[in-house]
Every structure is written in structure tokens, then in C-alpha cells.
């Protein structure tokens, strides 16, 4: 594994700056009910129709943990090649906001369920390993809607209490492109595992982006700023570029960078400081006394290991060997679990080389054009095999096949 970067640098006169990025990804767990209550987690319901007494924090209500959510977190940890902790603790993160009915979020602070792990990125310049610091379980908040009523904010608690996995990376990312590949890889792993659908438009995947800069070659890290709640890869990249440049400008002027939390303004394409009160972020974490430490046995973890399907990295290796694909082709075909399934179904019944070309070429172009997922493909894997066989045995020409597809 080489750490050779195609370097992303910000240059001013004679100074070159490296960008150091860490991501805290919030991934909604795919489950039927919420983390500590049995309300539904379905997306798109009418406001406040998936809210229980526990979710709305009525007096005397208590949390009870969803076993399946725990399993999903462990599964994801295994997919990140991470250490699964037999004992973890739920802590209360205390702060006030309209979409936080309890006045605290149940999260994990000092003892998360998953420890250190790693994710391998396939960059054009080789593989890069991104360290994972930890993964922990926590509750999602509700939604504050500011633009329906001019005088007031409306609150919908449907999302309040949905299970989240917070995946914290080490500050190993160095460029917007690496961030793109990292998010896609995480997404891919979780979709393979079925632990998160990774649907960023629906909010099942969001990230807080930590950015700092330092002079090229310098050991010491710069002051970092956190850009909160970015919900698309494109915005993450734009935010990083803006923020890194902002910090470099400050350093060039010999000004200090304040450690602060910022928001990315998608209309103005810039980050700005969240005007929050001083010391507003003293969360006063302490172990939630309504819960006990979460204890999972090695047997429990092992039984989950049995449920792990072949993951992207392993599948890629196998595809390269079995189908004699190039790493580039293999990467594309394994990035999404549905795509890899489709590919294997087609190659089962027809020529591999042709299948590879047709899927990565014509089919992907068609799907992109019509904005479809492969699961919605107008041509089934069976029929594509048949088509390819017809081409192979000369019954039809490539040109005619192309027209047929359209």
C-alpha cells in the first residue's frame, strides 16, 4: 500500500499547503424501528406520525435498546475491519434545541461499540488506507422546519430517535477527491452489508467535515474547523475547497485560525461561522442512568460474522482472478452490490469480456441518462446475457444490439 498522493496542494506565492481532512459520517441504520423505541423509521411519513411517547420525551418515558441496531453497528464494524468492543457505554450528550425533545441525545462517548478499523481507497495513483478511529451508536434528532411559518419554527419528531452510526475517520484524507472515494466506499460497504441504504437525498448519510491546513512537509497539524451537516459529496468537496483556502489566506496574512464550528452555505458556496454562544458546546457527557453498559459476547459477534457477505475488497480480488478483469473494471463492477450481482448473473450465461464491456459501457450510459439504479434496469440480466450471446454467435451485430438497448 503506497501512501503516494497525487498531491492536492494549495499554493500561494512560494508556499505550498497540504489539507488535512477528517470526516464524521452519520449513517442512519437500516432497521424497522428506532434505536430506543419501537416507532417506525420509514422515510417520508406525515409529520409526527412516527413518534412515540418515548420519542417525544414525555415524563416517565424510558429507552429500551433495539437488538437489531446493535447487530447492524457490529456488522458495519466488521466491514470496516475494526475492533468490536465487548463492553460499551451509552452516554447522554446534553444540550437544548427544538428538535431534541429530551434535552439530551443518547450517544456513546468514552466507550464506543466499535474501535479502530480501516477503509482502503482505490485512487488512480494506487491504494490508500484511511484509518477509522471508531464507530458508535446514537439517536438522530428530529427536524426543525424554518420556512413554513414566518414567525415560528415547526418541529417534526419523526426522525427523533432513529438509530445512527457515527463513523469517525482519522485525519488521513488529503483531498476532495479522496473524500469522494471515501464516502462512496463507506456507502458501498454499508449497502453490501445492508446496514445503511446510503441515500444522501433522504438524509440517511450526512457528514461533519473537519478541515485544517499545514505547510507542506510540516509535522504539526493546524487548527481545525468543523463544517457541520453536509449532505452531499459535491457540497463536501466545495466546502473543503472554500474552507482550506480561507484558512490558507488567514495564515498567509499571519492571522490565527479560530477553532470553531461552521456551516456550509450552499447558495453562496462558502462556509461561515455558526454564531453560537460562548461555551455552548459543554455537553456534560455522563453515562445514561436509564441504561446499563452494553455487553456483547464473542459468540454474539461471531454469529454476526457469519452473516457478512463477500465485501467489495474481497469481491474485487475475486473478480480480477476469476474474470481476468483489470483493477479499474473490477472497481467499477463491485462498487455497488446490485451491480456486482447483475454482472455475475450475466457472466454466468455469456461471454465475460463482452459482458464487461456492455455493462460498463452501454448499460451504465443508459442508466445514467435515464437516472435509474441498476435494480431498475430496463433490461434484465437474463435478457442481456441472451443479447450478448446473439452478438457472440454472430446472429446480430453490435450496432443492432446498441439500438435495441435504446
Amino acid at each position: 500500500m503506497t501512501k503516494n498522493n497525487h498531491e492536492f496542494l494549495i499554493t500561494r506565492k512560494n508556499n505550498h499547503y497540504e489539507v488535512v481532512i477528517g470526516l464524521e459520517v452519520h449513517a442512519q441504520i437500516k432497521s424497522n424501528s428506532k434505536l430506543f423505541s419501537s416507532s417506525s423509521t420509514k422515510f417520508g411519513a406525515e409529520p409526527n406520525t412516527q413518534v412515540s411517547l418515548v420519542d417525544a420525551a414525555f415524563p416517565g418515558m424510558l429507552p429500551v435498546i433495539n437488538e437489531f441496531c446493535v447487530k447492524q453497528a457490529i456488522k458495519t464494524g466488521i466491514g470496516l475491519k475494526a475492533k468490536i468492543n465487548n463492553k460499551s457505554v451509552f452516554d447522554r450528550k446534553n444540550y437544548f434545541y427544538a428538535d431534541l425533545p429530551q434535552g439530551y441525545q443518547i450517544s456513546q462517548y468514552k466507550h464506543p461499540i466499535v474501535g479502530e478499523g480501516k477503509v482502503i481507497l482505490d485512487m488512480p495513483y494506487g491504494q490508500k488506507e484511511i484509518g477509522i478511529e471508531r464507530l458508535h451508536l446514537e439517536q438522530d434528532a428530529g427536524k426543525s422546519i424554518h420556512d413554513i411559518d414566518p414567525e415560528n419554527t415547526l418541529v417534526d419528531l419523526n426522525r427523533s430517535g432513529v438509530a445512527l452510526m457515527e463513523i469517525v475517520s482519522k485525519p488521513d484524507l488529503s483531498s476532495p477527491e479522496e473524500v469522494n472515494i471515501y464516502i462512496k466506499k463507506l456507502r458501498s460497504i454499508m449497502r453490501y452489508l445492508g446496514t445503511c441504504d446510503g441515500n444522501m437525498q433522504e438524509g440517511s448519510l450526512r457528514a461533519d467535515v473537519n478541515v485544517s491546513v499545514k505547510k507542506k512537509g510540516e509535522e504539526k497539524l493546524g487548527t481545525r474547523c468543523e463544517i457541520k451537516n453536509v449532505n452531499s459529496i459535491k457540497f463536501m468537496q466545495m466546502a473543503i475547497i472554500y474552507e482550506a483556502n480561507r484558512q490558507v489566506d488567514l495564515l498567509e496574512e499571519e492571522k490565527t485560525i479560530d477553532q470553531e464550528t461552521r456551516l456550509f452555505d450552499t447558495k453562496k458556496n462558502e462556509t461561515r461561522s455558526m454564531r453560537s454562544k460562548e461555551d455552548a458546546h459543554d455537553y456534560r457527557y455522563f453515562p445514561d442512568p436509564d441504561l446499563l453498559p452494553l455487553e456483547v459476547t464473542n459468540d454474539f459477534i461471531d454469529s454476526i460474522k457469519l452473516e457478512i457477505p463477500e465485501l467489495p475488497d474481497e469481491k474485487k480480488k475475486r473478480f480480477i482472478e476469476k474474470f481476468k478483469l483489470t483493477p479499474y473494471e473490477a472497481t467499477i463492477l463491485v462498487s455497488d452490490i446490485e451491480t456486482s450481482k447483475y454482472f455475475e448473473e450475466v457472466t454466468n450465461n455469456s461471454d465475460i469480456k463482452l459482458a464487461t464491456n456492455w455493462i460498463t459501457g452501454e448499460l451504465f450510459a443508459l442508466l445514467n441518462e435515464k437516472n435509474l439504479e441498476i435494480s431498475e434496469s430496463p433490461i434484465s440480466s437474463r435478457n442481456l446475457s441472451k443479447l450478448i450471446n446473439l452478438i457472440k454467435n454472430g446472429t446480430i451485430s453490435g450496432k443492432i444490439a446498441k439500438q435495441y438497448l435504446k
Binding site: 432497521s31 424497522n32 424501528s33 423505541s37 419501537s38 416507532s39 417506525s40 406525515e46 409529520p47 409526527n48 406520525t49 412516527q50 413518534v51 412515540s52 411517547l53 417525544a56 429500551v64 435498546i65 433495539n66 437488538e67 437489531f68 441496531c69 446493535v70 457505554v89 437544548f96 434545541y97 427544538a98 426543525s144 422546519i145 424554518h146 411559518d149 414567525e151 415560528n152 419554527t153 415547526l154 418541529v155 417534526d156 419528531l157 455558526m274 454564531r275 454562544k277 461555551d279 459543554d282 456534560r284 453515562p287 442512568p289 441504561l291 446499563l292 453498559p293 452494553l294 455487553e295
Partner: protein, 95 residues
Amino acid sequence: MTIDLKTIKHISRLSCISLEDEKAQKLAGDLNSIFKFIEKLNELKIEDVEPLTSIAETTLKFRTDEVKSDNIREKILKNSPSDNEDFFVVPKVVE
């Protein structure tokens, strides 16, 4: 260690309780005598003791991943101060 007015103001901000200066002053006094009383714990040498966070002699029990709660929006909103039938309504946040 004394708790001064500045600290009281800070704590009251964290706990979202507004306090007039007079009340804040009295609270500082009360808290100081209470904390003097609490200081007694400093007599003990306890670096190596494990903190006790739960007194319940049992393990965390799991719940199955079934949707059990129905749409009880009416019940949920029934006690709220506004009469909006779909949402909770609060004054705007100042960003």
C-alpha cells in the same frame, strides 16, 4: 473554591434558566455552602476505585426490531401549547 456570579451566569446559560442578578447572588451563596459540604469527599483516596454507574444488578436487555407504536399524533400533540395539528410550534431560533 468559590462559585462566583460569573460562574452562576454561565451555569444558568447551560441549563437554560434565566436568573436576575439578585437571585443569582443568592444562588451563589447557597451553592457555596453546599459545595463546602460536598468537599468532604476530598478526604478519601480513591484513584484506583472503579466508578459505579449502575446499581441495577442485571445486564442491558434487548428489544426486537418490531414496529409496535402506531400513529398517535393526536396524543403526542394534545398537551402542546399551540393548537397546530401536525407540528410542534416554537419561536424561531436566532442563528
